[in-house]
Amino acid sequence: MDLKGKITLVTGASRGIGAEIAKAFGEEGAFVIVNYLQNEAKAATVVDHIENQGGESTAMQADVTDEQSVQDMVAKIVDSFGAIDVIVNNALPSYTFNPKKRKAAWDMKWEDYQKQIEGSIGGAFNVCKAVMPYMKEQNGGRMINLLTNLIDLPLVPYHDYTTAKAGLLGYSRNLAVDLGPFGITVNCVAPGLTYPTDSSLETKEDVREEIARLTPMGKVASPEDITGSVLFFASDWASFITGQCIHVDGGLVMK
């Protein structure tokens, strides 16, 4: 897989799946921009890790829900590197995945949905919108959006979170149509429950065991399991694939 020299932005990359994705790109020779919101120290750890492995990386702070902040970050990337080849929209608004404390449908408020839509679709929208002129100008680019397999199999119905991610899938497919003629692909990766991550800390043993039991491959995903499909969409192997979604959940969802 030749990602050598590809300028790659991973949002929300200071921890969890984002950090693993950033490291994986670093290992493949990409220049990785580790975006973070607050956790500067953790972002620095990811950058250090990549550099220690002989890769190249830099950390950049930006709130993906803030249009201006995202535009400034992207402009800075292009100024420093001359291009932006790959974006991975991984950042998500803070959310507690606790099956026992989740809100039931009748307790949901419209604001709950709005917050997730703002964070999930809004964040991805800001990043996609900001890189669009550059990718069009360079006759190509890769956009990869992180979803969840709960869209297809809401084992635990996190209403607001999953609804927003489902919206992001629709956004991605529509984007793929308009951007295809410019040589830009838009694809999605939908992980199953991934452990351990900060978000999944409150998803306790019993639920994880239950999901593992239902999963053909007999375990829940670990952060490293997710990276391969993201790298694939960024690689030349996926040059003619767009508007697709890969489930990375050990076969829990098949479609």
Partner: protein, 361 residues
């Protein structure tokens, strides 16, 4: 002048003049200079960004994008902007009178350092001074010519007291040159002749018409530079060397050809006493790449391509310059094949030149 520039100049000078003692190799200094030029030369920065080459992505000097010489005509290429540069050198502009390439030198210290260090190495390796007779204009006659600066420097720093310029306001004073050469000849004193190739062509014609020949003393050298543009009749280098031998009665090891470009700040030498015929050799702070015209990536060793020169002395504009000259790499340098020849378009679609002619442009 910004502090960073002063430091850059210091580093370059010490590499060029006292190389080795700084411990910096070409690679390291080239990358430092690239970062400097990327930061301060905006058109060059844009050119590099378009090629995805930035200080963060370039790891080796060979990856530094070479700026086409055309850009020196179209754009002001300068890291240090000043209203009173020490010199602005212009290309002779034989092809397009209006657009002449320019290379701005806020300070000439590095240019001079480069010129003199290489001059010593290639032209006067075994002596401190020489009697220099110059056939082309000195600096006072042509302030915008890098060649004139070069010749004036040579006489000032390496010429004995009887060194002279024979090019006056009305042109080359061939009679005076003839007389002076005859004097040298009778005294059996060696002389270093210096000038543009075209100036020699005129002088050789003059001598041939009058059946004049000289028998210059042992140790005399004929230094010429440049190709043959429209001013004089076309001569190949081989023919030129033959006519030097015939007119001046000097041996095959007495020729020095200097290859210089306004767009660069250093010169490259062909010294027949030091290298195989036609091989041009760079000083240590200049490297030349041979690129495939189709991809602008280096060709395999020995294959013909278009030349790009990486000249550390060219600190204010662009260190890396893409020429329109074809050539190929040799063991110690390269062989210059000359300008790429235009060809008539294959198609019936009208070509740029024809249309431009039609429009009187």
């Amino acid at each position: 002048m910004r502090q960073q520039t002063k430091q850059m100049i210091e580093q370059l000078l010490s590499f060029i003049i006292y190389r080795g003692s700084t411990g910096k190799d070409f690679q390291e200094l080239a990358l430092t200079l690239f970062s400097y030029q990327f930061e301060h030369n905006l058109p060059y920065k844009k050119y590099c960004q378009k090629r995805r080459k930035t200080p963060l992505t370039v790891k080796h000097w060979q990856e530094i994008p070479a700026m086409p010489i055309q850009a020196f005509k179209e754009l002001p290429l300068a890291c240090e902007s000043t209203r009173t540069p020490e010199a602005v050198f212009l290309t002779s502009g034989t092809t397009n009178a209006e657009k002449r390439g320019q290379n701005i030198h806020p300070a000439l210290a590095v240019w001079d350092g480069s010129m003199m260090t290489a001059f010593k190495q290639f032209v006067l390796p075994e002596q401190q001074t020489a009697a220099i007779y110059v056939l082309s204009p000195a600096e006072d006659l042509n302030q915008h010519s890098s060649l004139s600066r070069y010749l004036t420097n040579a006489v000032k720093h390496f010429g004995t007291e009887d060194s002279r310029f024979f090019f006056k306001e009305k042109g080359l004073d061939m009679e005076a040159l003839t007389t002076a050469l005859k004097v040298k000849e009778s005294r059996r004193e060696p002389v270093l002749l210096m000038g543009a190739s075209s100036a020699y062509v005129h002088f050789i014609d003059y001598c041939t018409e009058r059946d004049l020949t000289f028998h210059l003393a042992e140790g005399s050298r004929i230094f010429d530079t440049g190709g043959f543009k429209r001013q004089s009749r076309e001569l190949s280098r081989e023919e030129l060397y033959e006519s030097f031998s015939r007119v001046f009665d000097v041996g095959p090891n007495s020729f020095i050809n200097m290859y210089g470009m306004t767009e660069l700040s250093s010169q490259i030498y062909e010294v027949t006493a030091q290298s195989p015929r036609f091989e041009k050799v760079n000083p240590d702070w200049v490297k030349t790449l041979v690129l495939d015209p189709e991809t602008l990536r280096p060709v395999k060793a020995g294959e013909v391509g278009v030349l790009a020169h990486y000249d550390l002395a060219n600190w204010n504009s662009c260190m890396a310059v893409l020429t329109e000259d074809m050539g190929f790499e040799t063991e110690n340098g390269f062989v210059l094949l000359g300008r790429v020849e235009g060809s008539e378009a294959r198609g019936c679609s009208i070509a740029v030149d024809e249309l431009m002619r039609a429009n009187g442009k």
